[in-house]
Symmetry: C2
Subunit: 326 residues, 2 copies
Amino acid sequence: MHILIIGGAGMVGRKLAERLAKDKAVGGKPIARLTLHDVVEPSAPAGADFACVTVASDFSLPGEAEKLVASRPDLIFHLAAIVSGEAEQDFDKGYRINLDGTWKLFEAIRQVGDGYKPRVVFTSSIAVFGAPFPEKIGDEFFNTPLTSYGTQKTVGELLLADYTRKGFFDGFGIRLPTICVRPGKPNKAASGFFSNIIREPLAGHEAVLPVSEDVRHWHASPRSAVGFLLHAATLDGEAVGPRRNLTMPGLSCTVGEQIEALRRVAGDKVVARIRREPDPAIIKIVSGWARDFDPKRALALGFRSETSFDEIIRVHIEDELGGKIA
Amino acid sequence: MHILIIGGAGMVGRKLAERLAKDKAVGGKPIARLTLHDVVEPSAPAGADFACVTVASDFSLPGEAEKLVASRPDLIFHLAAIVSGEAEQDFDKGYRINLDGTWKLFEAIRQVGDGYKPRVVFTSSIAVFGAPFPEKIGDEFFNTPLTSYGTQKTVGELLLADYTRKGFFDGFGIRLPTICVRPGKPNKAASGFFSNIIREPLAGHEAVLPVSEDVRHWHASPRSAVGFLLHAATLDGEAVGPRRNLTMPGLSCTVGEQIEALRRVAGDKVVARIRREPDPAIIKIVSGWARDFDPKRALALGFRSETSFDEIIRVHIEDELGGKIA
């Protein structure tokens, strides 16, 4: 099969490509070819025994999405997005990439015609929900996003469901939890500290905790995120029916529980590298975020994530630190 | 104040314009000017003591929405839409008018800038919901439309909420019930019979009932629809907060209850003009439609509709038949 990843240079896209190189197949079907696309040239995964093509372009520009689907990939992962903070600051750019770009991609697939009907897996977000919400958000709770990013993701979900219903492709939208532990450098995203307070101490560095320990949030590891994408790639669309956007499973825990898990896995010396420095701006942003979900449908469809924060930390140590703690 | 109605040639648009001509003001503010727009030239309402301008254009074409908002109307009613059946048959046209046209209009308002922040009232639909749903659909139930029209209306709602949140205008989306009794000729819309079985017998004509009497649906009169629009025009946006899309109140009743109301209001002779002729296609379509709602928020905000089907019939006799039954 031929697979296309749009957003292949991002963290999840790279991990997905590496996993495909290792697995050599999706749902029992051997991979013949992988196209990795992003606005900057992505790198082909090491050790792939199939053809890898890398492409750099702005997929929201006229004609670009058409080029990407002209070779009729059987499976398309659409991971490309302007992230939440940037979409909020640059209104035009967020709408151009996240809404218009996604719509243009779906249209390009439809315009291929001639029986072409790929599986499309679209990464959505829990930002489709906006406070106030119940302590646990159920599968039938309404979408009232409070960011432009969340609005754009919700529109992408709706288009995906309608294009699927009309038979133009066979899509699934998956709402990722906050990915933790996110590898790489600390960033200034408001959600960065959830990962920073684990990753940095494990690497021997100090980390800043800007909120109180009773802040509760919804997490899954990068490994789980890749697992969600691959599971969505192999679901039986007809059996699932027309409701194609699913809140993924995750782990709900408080910052205090994250820290206690870190203590169990890595000890007091590592935990001592977390420095408390309350940031009123971040405290305010985070107070509007979802804390917990009841993702019954995704669980019934076989999606799985970590069941303890200890496990999330261990996944990070295995996948990013070669098993070693500083 | 200056008012713009987009979709001013439609049934609800005409009734709204007539009501404005009669009221001379909205929320206590005198009307100085009314612009009526549609794809066909709308007619100015009789007896208006303010300036009326009528404009015919396709508002989804580049530059047309800009022209409509260049005169900075204080209040914009956006009622223009490709209806459900046509949007389902002509996928491109439905998306072009209902989604892209609505987005272009919102963008045109934003681009005026310079402190311009009109009230925008957008007519959405109960088609934003798709079966299966609970017997009564609550205000926090999710949107899983099963038509392209419902998808396009949901996207319009999301854009309206985000543009409002960002301060580009001050919008409300109102989800109209099925409008009953719809005046005019019987049409081939799947929902047409809900009105046909009342309007035609009252006018001395036979009407066909294609479904069984236990079919339950959600209704409001054209007079109520105009009332919703005017009430939405005067709400305090800040007090309502960011959740700007509201399911309007309506009356839930079965076809059998509609017929018994007709008997009470107009007698057996009129009811005898209803002929049963089951239509499997219409039976199937209607089985997926919403039956009842629990529109707590709209009621709390002061929106009101009829509380009995007898009242809906009486409104029709008063407003359309000059009080006379054939």
